[in-house]
């Protein structure tokens, strides 16, 4: 019974810095560090789903006006602002480089499900899709672009043509983009988006801040590697993974065979 008050979410195993960083990103009670400010209009332009300051297009009438068949569940779950207004469902897609990224696709899924409501996400090898109601998406995008999980050089908005996350960085340290959506402005030292996520040329280029310096990149890196946290740092994680693999196999073979010693 003493356990009742003792439960605190584990979130993630590991004692090293990388594990600690993962734990922080996926714990919604811990805030993400803010690195830059991006205007809401710029976010609307980058997403390219609607014209700046135009009204939200709706896919169905506001929830209060729809007559739906009776279902008590619909009165329990609180809908998001976008769902309540009947917004269209729109998307943002990020690609994260292999080279010391501040977040990676698998981590995005966990972060999205921990921090946002009403999310539809799909994880791929080098990109991550996030679909939400339009106004919810714009709000979430602000968090995703302004905080520590976005390094303008190593993470990119790539609505289409995502190829490039596993390629070498270019001479300015930027992740490859076949559509050249962003360039490094040597005069200002900033990464500037000259195209929106769909590759349409923007009327006014949008700067998203300078690439992070190498020591910052190392500090914010989410992946284990020889020059961040080496192999042995992952002891607890390996224990979880090997145990999970073994128990999944045994549980699939005979669910009754699992016992507390395993």
């Amino acid at each position: 019974m003493a356990e009742k008050s003792e439960y605190v979410p584990n979130v993630y195993p590991g004692k090293d810095e990388i594990s600690e960083r993962r734990r922080r990103l996926w714990d919604k009670n811990r805030s993400l560090l803010k690195y830059r400010n991006i205007a809401e209009d710029d976010i609307t332009e980058l997403l390219s789903h609607r014209s700046v300051r135009s009204a939200y297009v709706s896919v169905h009438p506001p929830l209060e006006e729809i007559i739906e068949p009776y279902d008590p569940i619909k009165h329990i779950v609180v809908p998001t602002a976008g769902a309540r207004a009947g917004d269209r469902i729109r998307f943002i897609q990020f690609s994260d480089s292999f080279h010391k990224p501040p977040i990676a696709p698998f981590g995005r899924a966990r972060l999205y499900l921990a921090r946002f409501r009403g999310v539809d996400t799909v994880v791929y090898s080098g990109r991550e899709l996030l679909e939400m109601r339009e106004r919810d998406l714009e709000k979430a995008t602000k968090t995703l672009l302004e905080t520590e999980i976005f390094n303008p050089a190593l993470d990119a908005l790539k609505g289409i043509t995502v190829h490039g996350h596993s390629l070498r960085l270019d001479e300015d340290g930027l992740m490859f983009d076949a559509r050249r959506r962003y360039i490094y402005d040597r005069e200002t030292g900033q990464v500037v988006y000259i195209k929106d996520q769909m590759g349409n040329v923007l009327d006014n280029p949008i700067p998203l801040g300078p690439p992070m310096p190498e020591d910052e990149v190392k500090k914010l890196c989410i992946t284990y590697s020889w020059d961040t946290q080496p192999y042995k740092a992952r002891t607890e994680l390996f224990e979880v993974m090997t145990r999970a693999a073994k128990l999944r196999v045994m549980g699939g073979f005979n669910p009754e065979s699992i016992n507390e010693k395993m």
């Binding site: 594990s19 739906e68 499900l113 607890e236």
Partner: protein
């Protein structure tokens, strides 16, 4: 009883409808209500008369996709037969042809608005090796009746005779499948198109179930669970080692056992999916289903269980709550796959490697489902999938959750239940058995709980 587990069943208003029922009372083998639902699904055929009339008139037959229904159009062979005006006569003709002596008094043919609903006699189904008489008997008797009512024969009118056959049977037997959306249909697919042993009850489209439950989430969950559970039983996936695992799993996922799913949803009604995972694990810990096994150097706790089938049921309940919360917040069915796939990732890392629901199969099937519903490898909206689709069949617990997600959709889908399954909303009104499914499963379990012998 074989198993000691007893549960309470709550309806979607959190009212207890069955107290201390043994889990066997929720087996399709014992639960009488489930038996009735399955019997109805197996024995019922529908004849869409306006469609029949229209197809014969326009010479439309043998199409192969539901969106390309005018693929083969031969109006020069068409004939304008006033089928709708003779609906009663056609219904009587079919009744005369398929009734067998000594029926138990139930009316096997009913004309409901413009649809003839045929419930095949039990005796015919008993002597059949498959459930195909639902198609064969109904189709042949319909063809004969139409020919007789309108006096058509091959000497007088060869083209119309051929067209009647083509409209009713499509390209069969040159093609093994009937045309999707053909005038004669049934709940289940014809047996020659079922891919895999025991997948019969698993061949139903998600949106059909959503329509049959009239988009009431917990009823949709319960109805989908009855069907998928029956399929799992037929596949042999619930024998011996897997019986308690499946009984508990469906009880917590589909029938709101101990009100756990609803409790989790209520507790986190404005929370996130990760909150649901934490609440589920806390509850498992409080109920003694899992316990702390060891603590690592970082303070990370490894959990262990002696009762994995029960913990699996808790996880399934948590996943159900996660899907309800995620799709409910977004009010969109497409978000179900994200919750199905990645809730289990959270469960796995939260417990230190205790297997996630259905030992990883849910996560695997969920990720595949996400790919195929997000235009990555093509595919369609979640509502257009059948339960036995190659993407979904990896786990028997994934289908009810997709139904729950689609019930909560407020009109964002191209493949909406209204578009793909309009007729099933009407069928629900015709058969009162489809109303308050969850409540009826519970009441039925309550009725038999004292008569069960293990």
């Amino acid at each position: 009883m074989k198993y000691k587990d007893k549960i309470d069943i709550y309806n979607d208003l959190s009212k207890c409808v069955a107290k201390d029922v043994p889990i066997e009372a929720l087996s399709p083998v014992y639960n009488p209500y489930m038996g009735k639902i399955l019997d109805l699904f197996k024995r019922t055929a529908f004849i869409n008369l306006p469609k029949l009339q229209n197809c014969i008139k326009e010479g439309k037959a043998g199409w192969e996709t539901s969106t390309g229904q005018d693929e083969c159009k031969m109006p020069w062979y068409g004939k304008d037969l006033p089928i709708m005006d003779h609906a009663e006569e056609i219904a009587n003709g079919i009744r005369d042809r398929i009734k067998v002596g000594g029926e138990d008094g139930e009316d096997i043919v009913k004309l409901i608005e413009d649809t003839i609903v045929v419930k095949m006699p039990k005796k015919v189904m008993e002597i059949a090796a498959s459930r195909d008489p639902v198609y064969t008997w109904v189709m042949v008797s319909l063809a004969q009746t139409v020919a007789e009512v309108f006096g058509i024969d091959p000497i007088k009118d060869l083209n119309t005779t051929n067209m009647i056959k083509a409209v009713i049977f499509g390209r069969y037997p040159q093609s093994t499948t009937f045309s999707p959306g053909a005038p004669v249909s049934s709940f289940l697919k014809p047996s020659n198109t079922i891919d895999g042993l025991g997948c019969g009850y698993s061949g139903i489209t998600v949106n059909h179930i959503v329509a049959l439950a009239n988009k009431r989430t917990m009823d949709g969950l319960a109805l989908a669970s009855i069907l998928e559970q029956a399929a799992q039983w037929e596949m042999g996936n619930s024998i011996g080692w897997y019986e308690r695992y499946n009984l508990l799993g469906y009880a917590y996922e589909g029938y709101n056992a101990n009100n756990m799913t609803l409790d989790l949803v209520k507790e986190n009604r404005s929370g996130t999916v990760a909150d649901i995972v934490y609440s589920t694990i806390k509850r498992a810990l409080d109920d003694g289903v899992i316990k702390v096994k060891s603590k690592a150097a970082s303070g990370y706790r490894f959990y262990a269980t002696n009762d994995f089938p029960m913990y699996n049921a808790y996880e399934l309940s948590g996943t159900t709550a996660g899907v309800i919360l995620n799709s409910g917040a977004m009010r969109a069915g497409q978000a179900a796959s994200a919750a199905i796939a990645y809730t289990h990732d959270l469960f796995l890392y939260e417990t230190g490697g205790l297997p996630d629901a259905d030992t990883g199969r849910m996560q695997g099937a969920g990720i595949g489902f996400a790919f195929y519903t997000h235009s990555i490898y093509g595919g369609a909206g979640p509502g257009a999938y059948t339960f036995d689709h190659v993407i979904l069949r990896g786990s028997g617990f994934i289908q009810p959750l997709i139904v729950a997600g689609m019930c909560l959709d407020s009109g964002t889908q191209l493949f909406s239940p209204e578009m793909t399954s309009g007729a099933f909303f009407k069928i629900r009104e015709t058969f009162p058995i489809f109303q308050d499914v969850l409540q009826k499963v519970g009441e039925s379990a309550e009725e038999i709980k004292n008569d069960l012998k293990g």
